[in-house]
């Protein structure tokens, strides 16, 4: 019988895929399902032993009545949008520079990539010091050119943008490497043809480079969006969601709800909503950028 299964063209692929599917189920699908199960219960640190009551979708309904959660969604969208625009713009610019100047690129590629390989905690602490009002590098430079120092992390209007800058600094190297690799895959013929037709550099970029980069751009934007939306360690180190919740992203609020407030069911519900938002964004990107590509 086993021999029959292994020899059958219909069943063999499933047999070969089975170990991978089991692994995938145990490390991805099971935690997700368990998380969903927890989100349907009023699980708290105070009832871990006695058992949490089933509450159905109550945690989800509560979420959308919770002003702090809605506020965290707004903060997350600003954070993601700011980081994405900055990372993509700068990353593309650096990728183009490195691609068209291969000589110095070897050295600069290594330098540019340093922020990406650093741990989020180190980045957080480094930026805290750079933003320090009294001793920080950035305020020292501002003073040097006769400008007033800024309360980067203390000011409710500035704190989120200070985090965005730190996140752009960290994430740009990834976009740069990703797009540079994609640039290398574009053949030279379309550029040569465009040159013969008298196209300017801008026209070549606009009508050849960008369209051919679209699949890479779509994947890059999806990854950057998801990572930024889920980012929490740098924020935990730099602002802990403050001042006055000005940097309280959804990921940060999830952490606080589950691990500081002990509301494990509620925290799980936030995680599921975050997952749905991520999935929705991925679909949107593919529909708008991917399809055109």
């Amino acid at each position: 019988m086993i021999k029959g299964i292994l020899n059958s063209e219909r069943t063999l692929p499933y047999v070969l895929m089975a170990p991978l599917l089991v692994l995938l189920f145990s490390v991805t699908l099971f935690p997700f399902l368990w998380n969903f199960y927890v989100s349907m219960h009023d699980l708290k640190t105070t009832n871990l032993q006695s058992g949490a009551p089933f509450v159905g979708l109550a945690n989800y309904f509560r979420l959308f009545r919770d002003p702090t959660f809605l506020h965290s969604l707004k903060i997350s969208s600003y954070f993601v949008l700011g980081s994405m625009v900055g990372q993509f713009g700068l990353g593309l610019l650096l990728a183009m520079i490195l691609h068209y100047h291969p000589g110095p690129a070897r050295v600069f590629r290594v330098i540019f990539v340093i922020p990406w390989i650093l741990s989020a905690l180190i980045i957080g602490y480094s930026w805290i010091w750079m933003y320090n009002y009294r001793f920080g590098l950035i305020n020292s430079l501002l003073r040097l050119v006769g400008l007033r120092p800024i309360h980067w992390l203390n000011d409710i209007r500035m704190a989120l943008w200070a985090l965005v800058i730190a996140n752009i600094w960290r994430g740009t190297p990834f976009t740069m490497l990703f797009l540079e690799a994609a640039l290398k895959t574009i053949p030279s013929e379309p550029y040569e043809a465009a040159k013969v037709d008298g196209a300017t550099s801008w026209q070549s970029f606009r009508y050849i480079t960008l369209p051919l980069l679209r699949p890479a751009i779509a994947i890059n934007l999806i990854l950057v969006t998801m990572w930024t939306f889920n980012l929490f360690d740098t924020i935990l180190v730099m602002t802990k969601g403050g001042p006055a919740n000005a940097t309280l992203t959804t990921a940060m609020y999830m952490y606080k709800s589950a691990f500081e407030y002990g509301l494990l069911g509620y925290g799980s519900a936030i995680t599921i909503v975050m997952l749905l938002i991520n999935a929705l964004l991925a679909v949107l990107y593919f529909k708008t950028i991917g399809r055109r590509a």
């Binding site: 009832n47 032993q49 009294r134 309360h151 203390n154 000011d155 006055a244």
Partner: protein, 428 residues
């Protein structure tokens, strides 16, 4: 016959060596990093023969979740025998059924303890049901460098009242800025800011954080006292030119003379921040004062934190032998002479009256700077309510502080908004 004697002799010898092999009973104790029970480990082992005390440390932020996940398993094999819980976690742990009731073990002992710590070891507070004993505390005070005050032309007496405190901060900032020294450090990096900069002022004005109403706790911090306390902080920043700090170095930067004045825990004046110095030497370098009050005649209040020594419920329920040994260890630790040894080694403030008397007082005063002052502050200290929702309540109050200080929101409005939030958190 002789064969039988040989066999019996061998069996007895094996039996004895097996007993010897069994060795001492291991008692595992979990504590937060830096709360070094190991300072009295050998003393306790000598007082409880046959016990090998093993102290395991976890970073503060990890300990709470580590305890929850371990104790929730309900398996005595993985549970420690004795645990130290932060006093503000007590309600959450008791409500969750993680801690053993220890009234019969500690009630007599507790009679000698200062009110705040005796009540704080009970759940609900003041109910007479003990879940451990508050063995370790600190007090928060105003601390300053006298020479820096002198240099800036500021009188130490100015630090006693709110209005003169504000003008002193301004003066200190202006005079010491060229040297890169700040006047006054105001920590605003996390919810702990309220412990240092809001609750003591609120209490001194006669306010409370929460009060019981119809058998339920309701917010009370948005009272007139709370508004006055928060307005003082706003004035410190707006009028006194104090820059709120988002990072915290737990007194290390003040001890390194980066700031002239600081309101912080007594650990900031201890040997841990001034390595290689004696208490007498530290008392010559720095000075301490009670919290400033709004006007003469008002009595300053301090906030005390600390740790409660307790035993997991699963050990009491499922491993009675281990529970009995853990109780023995706990009783040994709670002896006045052992506590004096511990407090002296780690510069902790006593939580019981007996340690303020001889023969312990001299020994403690030798190692703990400003011992009499700190002990008196501890005897009148107030503590935070250890309710399960405390971290949410503390966050809401801290948010109000931030709104008033950073966003310019009127203190009454900020506190009212926080009170509404807290009411909902408490199920109101």
């Amino acid at each position: 016959m002789s064969k039988r004697i040989w066999v019996w002799s061998l069996m007895v010898a094996f039996g004895l060596s097996a007993v010897a092999w069994a060795g001492p009973v291991v008692v595992k104790l979990w504590q937060s990093e830096g709360y070094g029970l190991e300072a009295v480990e050998s003393l306790i082992e000598s007082l409880v023969p046959g016990v090998d005390l093993q102290v395991v440390e976890y970073p503060y932020n990890e300990l709470r979740m580590k305890l929850f996940t371990t104790l929730a398993a309900g398996d005595p094999k993985v549970a420690p025998d004795i645990v130290m819980v932060d006093s503000i976690w007590l309600g959450e742990f008791v409500e969750g059924g993680y801690l053993a009731e220890l009234t019969d073990v500690v009630a007599d002992e507790a009679a000698d303890w200062f009110d705040a710590f005796r009540n704080g070891s009970q759940w609900p507070a003041g109910s007479g049901k003990y879940y451990g004993l508050w063995y370790d505390t600190d007090v928060r005070v105003t601390m300053y460098w006298p020479d820096l005050l002198l240099e800036a032309g500021v009188n130490a007496g100015d630090l006693l009242y709110w209005d003169t405190f504000i003008s002193a901060c301004k003066k200190l900032n202006e005079a010491l800025a060229p040297q890169g020294i700040g006047g006054f450090r105001l920590d605003m990096g996390g919810a702990y800011a309220a412990d240092f900069f809001f609750f003591p002022f609120l209490w001194a004005e006669g306010g409370e954080i929460l009060v019981a109403k119809d058998g339920k706790l309701v917010p009370a911090f948005n009272s007139e006292a709370g508004v006055k306390a928060l307005q003082f902080l706003v004035d410190l920043v707006k009028v006194g030119g104090v820059e709120p700090q988002l990072d915290i170095f737990w007194g290390n930067d003040w001890a390194a003379r980066k700031w002239a004045v600081y309101i912080h825990g007594n650990w900031a004046t201890s040997e841990s921040r001034f390595p290689g110095t004696t208490a007498a030497e530290r008392m010559k370098k720095v000075a301490v004062l009670p919290y400033p009050v709004s006007e003469p005649g008002k009595v300053p209040v301090t906030l005390s934190g600390g740790w409660i020594m307790t035993i997991p419920a699963v050990v009491k329920a499922k491993a009675p032998d281990r529970y009995a040994k853990a109780v023995e260890v706990m009783e040994a630790f709670l002896r006045a002479d052992v506590m004096a040894e511990y407090a002296s080694a780690l510069a902790r403030i006593p939580v019981r009256a007996a340690l303020m008397e001889e023969p312990y007082r001299s020994k403690l005063a030798e190692n703990i700077e400003f011992f009499d002052f700190y002990s008196k502050m501890a005897s009148i200290a107030k503590v935070r309510p250890a309710i399960p929702q405390w971290s949410q309540v503390a966050d809401a109050i801290f948010e109000a502080m931030q709104k008033a200080i950073f966003q310019g929101v009127d203190p009454q409005t900020a506190l009212d908004e926080a009170a509404a939030k807290v009411k909902a958190i408490l199920g109101g």
